[in-house]
Amino acid sequence: MTTDNSKTGVGQGLDQAAKAALLRETMPFKTVPDATLRRIADLAKEETLPAGTRLYNEGDRADDLFVIASGKIEHALGPEAEASKLVKMVKRGDVIGWAALLSTKQRRLATTVAEADTQILRINAQKLRDLFQNDQQTGDMVMSRFATMIKEDYTLPDWLAKTRSIGEGTVARSEAEVPVSESRLALLGYRLGLWVKSPKPYLMITGFTAVLLFWHFSVDVFEWPRFRNMPGLVEVITEWLSRDPIYGLSVWTPEYYTHIIVSIRRVFIAFLLATALGVTLGLFMGWSKGVREFVFPVFETLRPVPILAWVPLAIIIFFHPESTVIFLTFLASFYATALNTMLGVDSIDESYSRAASCLGANKWQVFRHVIVPGALPFIFTGLQISVGVAWFSLVAAEMVSGEFGLGFVINTSYTMVKYPTIVIGMITLGAVGYTTSAMVRMLGDHLMQWRVRELAMGGR
C-alpha cells in the first residue's frame, strides 16, 4: 500500500465538471466520450499532498492511478524499468501510477514524492477496469492510449508491452479478437497529432508556399522577361481544375487518368523487373568474388551510358513502343538497385557470417540468413533511388516513343504550345513519384523492424 496515506488531506473544491475537464487534458482520457468521462470523474477522489509527501514507493502494491491537478511530483523509476529517462517531474495533466492497470504486474515501478504542495485525483484501478468492462470500446481506446503514452517513455520490456492487450484482461475478449487495427488506428492518430504539433508540417507548407509564391510573382506580378511565356500559377490551377479545360487536360477529363495509369503501369513493370534482376545480381556480385569479377567490369562500363543514348538501340531491338519504354525505364533502376545491393553485401560485418558458420549454417544458409537480411537496409535505399530514377527515365523514354503517359503529355504539349498542360504534367509526375517512393520506404520500414528500432535507439 502507499506509505504516507495519513498525511494526505482530502481537499475540496473540484466538482465533477472540473474533474472531467482535468481528465480531458490527459493523454489517456482525452478522447473518452463525455458521459463516460463524467463517470470516471465520479471515481476520482481529490487529495492534496503537502510538499515532501511520498505518494508511493517502488515495489509497493499498485491499486490506484493518479492524475495531477496542480503542483508537481518527482517521479523516479527503478533501473529495471528500462526507461529512456529515469527521473522526471510530472505536473498538471500528467497521469502516474498506471502500473495499477496492468493485468500482470501490479507493483509500483517508481517512487514518487511531491515536490510542492500538490493536488491530485486518485482513481481506483479496479473500479476503472470495472467501468471499462461495460464500455469495451472506450476501454480499448483508453488502454491503447495508455500504451502509447508509456511507450513514449520506455523501451518496453515484454511484460510492459502486454498493456496493449490489457483489453483482454479487463474487457472480456479473446486475444485473437483484440482489436489490433483499433489500437493501430489510435497510434496512427496519436502520431498524426504529434506531427501536427511538431514544426515539420509548417516548414513543409512554408517550403511549398515559397516556391509557389516565387512562381506567381515572377510570372504574373513582376512579369520578368525570362518568364514571359511561362504559364502562371493561377492559369495552371484554373486549367487543372477546370471542368472544361482550354487545352483539353484537367482533373475532370478521363485522359488525365489514362496518362497517369499508363505511366504508373510502365514504372511498375520496369521497377519490378529492375528489383528482381538487380537484387539478385547485386547479391551474387557481393557474395561471390567470381561473379563479381565476371560481371562488375561490364556493369560499370554500361552504367555511365545515359538512357537517351540507349533510345535508338532500344527502338531497333524492341520495335514495339511499349517494350521500348519499359526497357529504358528499367535500365537505370536496375543499375541503382544492383549497385546498392552489392554495396549492401559488402557492408555486412564478416563476424556475422563467421558466427553463422560457427553455429553450423552451411553456405546457402549463410546467404539466406545473413547476406540477404544484412543487405536489406542498403537494398531499400537502392530501391528508393531506383523508383525515382525509374520516373525520370520514364519521362525521357515517353518523350521519345509512346502514345500515352505523363512524359508524352509534357512533350506533345510543348510541340502543340499547350504550356499550362506541361506544368500540370510536371506537377502530377512529381506527386505520383513522391507517393511511390514513400510507399517503397514504408515497405522497407515494415520489413526491417529491427532497423527502425535501431535507428530510433540511436536518438536516445
Partner: protein, 297 residues
C-alpha cells in the same frame, strides 16, 4: 565432426558437456605479400587443457585474434597443426564456438531467434532444444527481453545473449575473444562473476583471450602469457586460486597479487620490447602498468 553431440539427457538443467582438449603445435602464420609479409604467429605451441579455463593474455596487437581464427578454423596455419582431441581442425564447427570481440548477434533477429539460430540452422529443433532455450534465457536473465532486437539490449545483455547463443549448441570448447571489452567497469565485473559462474557449473573447456590482467586472474585456471609479434607462448602460470572466486577476496589475496605481479613482470618485458620496436599500443600499456605498480607499492 558434429555428428554425435553430447546433449544431456533430460531436463536440460544440466549444462555439463563432454569437453575436449585442443592442442596447438608449432603453428606459424603470416599475412601480407612479398617483403610486406609479416610473421604474426611463429612456432607457437600450447595446450588448452580439457575442462579448464585457459586465459591468454598479451600486449594488444600481439596476434591473439589470429590465433583465435586458427583455433576456430576460419583460417589455416602456414605450418604446424591445430587439433581437437587429436583430430585436426578443418574448418568452423559447432564443437568450437567463438564469442567475438564485437557483438556478432544478428541485428535482424530478436534475442530468442538469435539463441535458437544454431539448432535451427542445423535442423535440430525439438522440444528439448526449446526447453533448453527457455532455460538459457532464464539463466542469462533475458526472458523478458526475448523479443527484443540486439540494438535494444544493453552491452551486458548482448554479451549474455551471445553466451546463451553459444551454450545452446553444447560446444566442447568455447573460445572467447575479449568478450567484455568495451563494457563499463561495473558491468564488466558483474560479467566476470557471471561468466565464471557459468564456467564453474559446466566445467566446459574454455579459452578466453584478454588484455586485462585483472580479468585474466579472476577467471583463469591457467594463464598463457604471450610474447609480442611474432606470437609465441612466453610463460604459463597456474592460477591456483580457489573457486568460486569473488572480486573482493581476490583483491585481498596475497597469492592472487603474487600471480599478478609475476604476470605483469613478464608482460612488461614484452611490452618494452614492442615499445622499442615502436608499437603505439605498447606505450599505453606501459603507462597503465607503471600506474598499477605505483598503486601496489
Amino acid at each position: 565432426m558434429s555428428a554425435v553431440m553430447n546433449k544431456p539427457g533430460k531436463g536440460s538443467q544440466n549444462l555439463k558437456v563432454n569437453s575436449a582438449e585442443m592442442r596447438v603445435e608449432g603453428v606459424s602464420k603470416s599475412y601480407g605479400i612479398a617483403h610486406l609479409r609479416e610473421n604474426v604467429v611463429h612456432n607457437a605451441s600450447f595446450v588448452i587443457e580439457k575442462s579448464k579455463l585457459t586465459v591468454m593474455i598479451g600486449p594488444s596487437g600481439c596476434g591473439k585474434s589470429t590465433l583465435i581464427r586458427l583455433l576456430a578454423g576460419f583460417d589455416k596455419p602456414d605450418s604446424g597443426t591445430v587439433t581437437i582431441d587429436g583430430k585436426p581442425v578443418k574448418g568452423p564447427d559447432r564443437d568450437r564456438l567463438v564469442v567475438f570481440q564485437e557483438s556478432a548477434l544478428f541485428p535482424w533477429m530478436n534475442t530468442y531467434d538469435n539463441i535458437m539460430y544454431g539448432p535451427r540452422a542445423r535442423g535440430e529443433v525439438d522440444d528439448e532444444t526449446k526447453a533448453l532455450a527457455e532455460f538459457l534465457l532464464d539463466k542469462v536473465g533475458l526472458t523478458q527481453f526475448r523479443n527484443k532486437f540486439p540494438s535494444q539490449l544493453s552491452g551486458g545483455m548482448q554479451r549474455r545473449a551471445e553466451l546463451a547463443r553459444a551454450m545452446i549448441n553444447f560446444p566442447r570448447v568455447m573460445i572467447l575473444d575479449e568478450p567484455f571489452r568495451g563494457l563499463d567497469a561495473m558491468t564488466k565485473e558483474l560479467m566476470w562473476e557471471y561468466y565464471a559462474g557459468l564456467y564453474e557449473e559446466s566445467r566446459r573447456t574454455n579459452f578466453f583471450v584478454t588484455t586485462d590482467i585483472d580479468e585474466a586472474i579472476f577467471l583463469a585456471d591457467r594463464l598463457l602469457i604471450m610474447t609480442n609479434i611474432p606470437t609465441q607462448v612466453r610463460a604459463v602460470l597456474e592460477v591456483d586460486l580457489p573457486r568460486p572466486r569473488n572480486l573482493k577476496e581476490l583483491l585481498e589475496s596475497d597469492r592472487a597479487n603474487e600471480i599478478k605481479m609475476e604476470a605483469l613482470g613478464i608482460l612488461h618485458e614484452e611490452a618494452m620490447k614492442s615499445f622499442s620496436s615502436g608499437s603505439a599500443a605498447a606505450s599505453d600499456f606501459i603507462e597503465a602498468y607503471s600506474k598499477r605498480v605505483k598503486k601496489k607499492g
